[in-house]
């Protein structure tokens, strides 16, 4: 079974609103990453957070990590139509990267 599971599976919001998606995983990790996938394309790296970090920011992205709960969240602030995509978390221990099932985000203009 997969290491990570994202929640919700799908999310639809209005432009300008914030989008929050969550990732839960099962075993201890070195790092957790978030990726975006536009329809029909390869995945693009968004942000990496290490197991000893609790929060990280990159532009409009904010990622938190709670290793005691084995969970992470990705917040996209002031969403835009261009943020419409699928978002995946990936965890690794010794370079074996395991992805979750993804959250499909739709941002309505």
């Amino acid at each position: 079974s997969q290491q990570g599971e994202e929640d919700p599976q799908a999310l639809s919001i209005q432009e300008g609103e914030n989008a929050t998606m969550n990732c839960s995983y099962k075993t201890s990790i070195n790092n957790l990453q978030w990726y975006r996938q536009n329809s029909g394309r390869g995945l693009v790296h968004l942000i990496l957070i290490r197991s000893n970090e609790r929060e990280k920011h990159s532009g409009r992205l904010r990622v938190t990590l709670d290793t005691s709960k084995k969970s992470s969240s990705l917040l996209i602030t002031a969403s835009r139509a261009a943020d419409t995509a699928s978002y995946f978390c990936a965890t690794d221990k010794t370079y074996k990267y395991i992805f979750g099932t993804g959250t499909r985000l739709k941002v309505l203009a």
């Binding site: 997969q2 790092n31 990453q33 990726y35 029909g40 394309r41 390869g42 995945l43 693009v44 790296h45 990496l48 995946f88 990936a90 690794d92 370079y95 074996k96 990267y97 395991i98 992805f99 979750g100 099932t101 993804g102």
Partner: protein, 110 residues
């Protein structure tokens, strides 16, 4: 051009045939990966490689074979394709954490 490229991008084959999907990266990254993506399953790791001549199984390795004789290439072979292997296959490479993905190879097995 620099980057990671997959070929072919689209392939239709028949049950029982051998198919090889190619992956080439120009960064000399140590790590390379093969994933398959299916609706409802997200991305599942098939095989990965830490260096030339070092490969290891992922979550769903059955029915697939990989090799890595050169750092830059990581071909994935389906020795006898089955309909359940119809999927989109993604290759990725990494050196220090961040994965760089190819554009995918869409395989249909009839």
């Amino acid at each position: 051009d620099a980057g990671i490229t997959q070929s072919p991008r689209y392939k239709i084959t028949e049950t029982g045939r051998q198919v090889t999907l190619m992956c080439h990266q120009t960064w000399s990254h140590s790590y390379m990966f093969w994933y398959r993506q299916d609706l409802g399953h997200g991305l599942r790791l098939i095989y990965y490689s830490a260096a030339a001549d070092i490969t290891d199984k992922g979550e769903v390795p059955d029915g697939y074979v990989v090799s890595r004789s050169k750092t830059e290439n990581f071909p994935l072979t389906l020795e006898s394709a089955t309909r359940s292997q119809t999927s989109v296959y993604f290759c990725a490479s990494s050196e220090s954490g961040e994965l760089f993905f190819g554009e995918g190879s869409r395989l249909t097995v009839l």
